[in-house]
């Protein structure tokens, strides 16, 4: 039976870590496996236009910032948005399927997530732009590794 477990590998280099997509027994990384009605390219555009650009605009609204603060939340920082754009471009260029969710973490960062049954993976971009790949199975944390976009 195909599995997508451990389908992202982390290669340490002298200055940073890079992530590389591998195909594990025929399944893609961060892939939504059910056919999408719209083209993947259009969905990537939607992520950039409707999420990342919108999140960038939050920083220009004092009223929104105050509303978020009342709930203890912080919108994505410019560093996190910039890193997310790099990641999206890389994933798009390499033909990755869409993640199952892209959400602001509430502390200035952004999480790309993928959930397949009991396997749950997140690429967490922190407020300062640092990135981590985090893997859970059955809600147990299996691994947390620092990664970066090449």
């Amino acid at each position: 039976m195909p599995t997508c477990e451990l389908d992202i590998t982390v290669r340490e280099s002298a200055n940073n870590a890079q992530f590389a997509r591998v195909v594990a027994e025929g399944e893609d990384v961060l892939a939504t496996e059910i056919g999408l009605k719209e083209s993947v390219a259009a969905r990537w555009d939607e992520i950039i236009d409707h999420k990342l650009i919108e999140w960038g605009s939050w920083r220009r609204s004092t009223m929104l910032q105050q509303d978020f603060e009342a709930d203890g939340l912080i919108g994505p920082t410019s560093q996190a948005i910039c890193k997310a754009c790099q990641l999206v471009n890389r994933m798009r260029m390499d033909g990755w399927d869409l993640p199952t969710g892209i959400i602001p973490d509430g502390e200035g960062g952004i999480a790309f997530e993928n959930r397949h049954g009991s396997l749950y993976q997140r690429i967490e971009i922190q407020a300062n732009g640092e990135m981590f790949l985090v893997t859970f199975r059955d809600a147990k944390l299996l691994d947390r590794s620092q990664i970066d976009v090449e």
Binding site: A70, D71, G72, L73, I103, P104, R115, Y120, F136, R144
Partner: protein, 141 residues
């Protein structure tokens, strides 16, 4: 007679999820673990509201629990007994304006980056939310 301040296993709990922060995906019907991520003010645990009931008529109804500063919120519905079965600690924390306020004491701002805290957030989001209702518009919107 049971202490009315004690949280009964059959009690329903509400957790407010801001729509703008995508804490719930209505298409995939998925709650995100970030819905249970503690914020700076969560020093003793994350907030939940105990549901209005015959036993607790002064507690908030779901629409009241969904009020806040942001325009819209979903409400994640949980059952106290389910949380306890999975080892979560629930603490009543009545406030003057919200007598049904309570805390999930396992999840604090200080421990939010610890593996156990991350696991508990995934467990809550993926396994313990009974349903999600809303979105509810806040009264000022």
């Amino acid at each position: 007679m049971a202490d009315p301040s004690e949280i009964g296993d059959d009690e329903i709990l509400f957790r407010k999820l801001p729509v703008k922060f995508d804490r719930y995906d209505p298409d995939r019907k998925e709650v995100k673990p970030d819905a249970f991520r503690p914020t700076k003010s969560d020093e003793r645990g994350i907030s939940v509201d105990r549901a209005h009931s015959e036993r607790h008529p002064d507690f908030r109804r779901i629409e009241e629990a969904a009020q806040g500063r942001q325009a819209e919120y979903y409400i994640a519905v949980l059952r106290a007994g389910d949380l306890r079965q999975h080892g979560f600690v629930l603490v009543p924390d009545p406030l003057s304006e919200n007598p049904g306020h309570a805390l999930i004491a396992d999840l604090t701002y200080a421990n939010r980056r610890e593996p156990q805290s991350e696991e508990k957030r995934v467990q809550l989001a993926h396994g313990l939310v009974i349903r999600v209702e809303g979105p509810f518009a806040t009264a000022s919107n």
